[in-house]
Amino acid sequence: MNEMREQIRSYIVDNFLFGDDNGLDDSASFLESGMIDSTGILEVIGFLEENFSIKVKDDELIPENLDSIGNILGFLDRKLATA
């Protein structure tokens, strides 16, 4: 889980914050903070599908699954458990 968290966090910080972590909280909403827009969410989905060999379904495209590092971790946890 820790390794997965680091992988996701590192991707988010590198890709969307150009490496400036600025104490990003795992629970910070991507959309509310303005950090990631709807195109950015497509990037996140592409990253998850490519790196974790999963397919994100239409009905899984909800903030509860994708709108923060913590939410992504929880989503991946549930997704990989049923894979």
């Binding site: 827009d37 709807s38 195109t39 990037e43 592409g46």
Partner: protein, 331 residues
């Protein structure tokens, strides 16, 4: 305004004669004092916005100082050129029709577009038609997603969600259309010493429904402050031919017929106008619900979607960013 107060669609009623006169006066002032050009070039799509913009330009400057450009391409709807021709005849302005298909073909547009669609629909081939659609703000539970809808020559329809790469490829390729048209508008503006008029209405301008340096580029935007409902009423006041006024709003961008509401806006324009007005004036969703035929929760979703689109399209409105202000240059 609270829920107990009456809200009605009448809020969009304006004095058309006075407003048309004010816009015409502004156009003359801009031409004389700011732009210092002798006339106006307008791309005419056969739609309501470009027709009204052209009619207002004629009201301001006279028909001899307005130049219309019709720029269809192979995906344009069959009625596009007959409608743009109708407004040219109605306004008695000089015009030119340029089929931009060869320009688009030479930059590889059709091939690039088809290749991108084939990333998600491998069987997409010659004779197929397609369009991009967005998920409804009322249906999606969080993020709005774009899909491609393709129709085979035998009428079979296929719909597929667009992942990042094909989505960006399709948008980038399609933007060639608006940018090619703008390039031609500026060629003729330079040749004639004219300015270029943009044609967005308020919904399009506010919600970023335009291509940066494509249809978003212009020297003046005479109807950017008018809600679409007001544009239709202005069209009637200005005597724009009825068949143009009766045409449903279309993007006329994709080979498969596509309404603006399924591509970008959540609702038909008459409801979307009222929601945007309500949002701008701080009207409570409950008060707006009855006038729009929506439920208060739906109005709130549209309000939220307006904020999202404003935020995600802010970049389109931005001028190039400078590292520091250059005080000697103020515009």
């Amino acid at each position: 305004m609270t829920a107990s107060q009456q809200f009605s669609a009448d809020v969009l009623t304006i004095n058309l004669e006075k407003e048309a006169g004010r816009i015409a006066s502004c156009i003359r002032d801009f031409m004389k004092n700011r732009l210092k050009r002798r006339g106006i070039v307008i791309g005419l799509s056969g739609g309501i916005d470009s027709s009204v913009t052209a009619a207002l330009a004629v009201k301001a400057l006279g028909p001899a100082r307005v130049f219309g450009l019709e720029m269809p391409e192979r995906h344009s709807a069959a009625e596009t050129t007959s409608l743009s021709r109708a407004v040219i005849d109605h306004l008695a302005i000089e015009s030119l029709r340029i089929d931009i298909s060869p320009i688009l073909a030479s930059v590889g547009f059709y091939q690039l577009y088809d290749n991108a669609v084939r990333m998600v629909i491998p069987e997409y081939a010659t004779g197929w038609k397609s369009k991009v659609v967005t998920s409804s703000v009322f249906e999606n539970q969080g993020f709005s997603m774009m899909s491609i809808v393709a129709q085979s020559p035998d009428g079979t329809t296929v719909k597929a969600r667009l992942p990042l790469k094909p989505y960006l490829e399709i948008v980038a390729a399609t933007n060639f259309k608006q940018r090619t048209r703008k390039m031609l508008e500026y060629y003729h503006a330079d040749r004639l010493n004219y300015a270029v008029a943009g044609t967005p209405n308020r919904l399009e301008y506010d919600q970023g429904f335009f291509v940066k340096l494509g249809d978003g580029a212009s020297d003046l935007k005479p109807i950017a402050h008018l809600y679409k409902t007001q544009v239709y009423r202005m069209a009637e006041y200005l005597g724009i031919p009825e068949r143009i006024r009766n045409r449903p709003p279309t993007t006329d961008t994709y080979s498969l017929s596509q309404g603006q509401d399924e591509f970008y806006f959540s609702l038909p324009y008459h409801q979307m106008d009222l929601c945007l007005y309500g949002k701008n004036k701080g009207v409570a969703p409950e008060a707006l619900a009855a006038a729009t035929g929506l439920q208060a929760e739906q109005v709130q979703k549209v309000y939220d979607d307006i904020d999202t689109k404003r935020s995600t399209t802010r970049y389109l409105h931005l001028k190039p960013l400078l590292m520091e202000k250059i005080a000697e240059i103020s515009v």
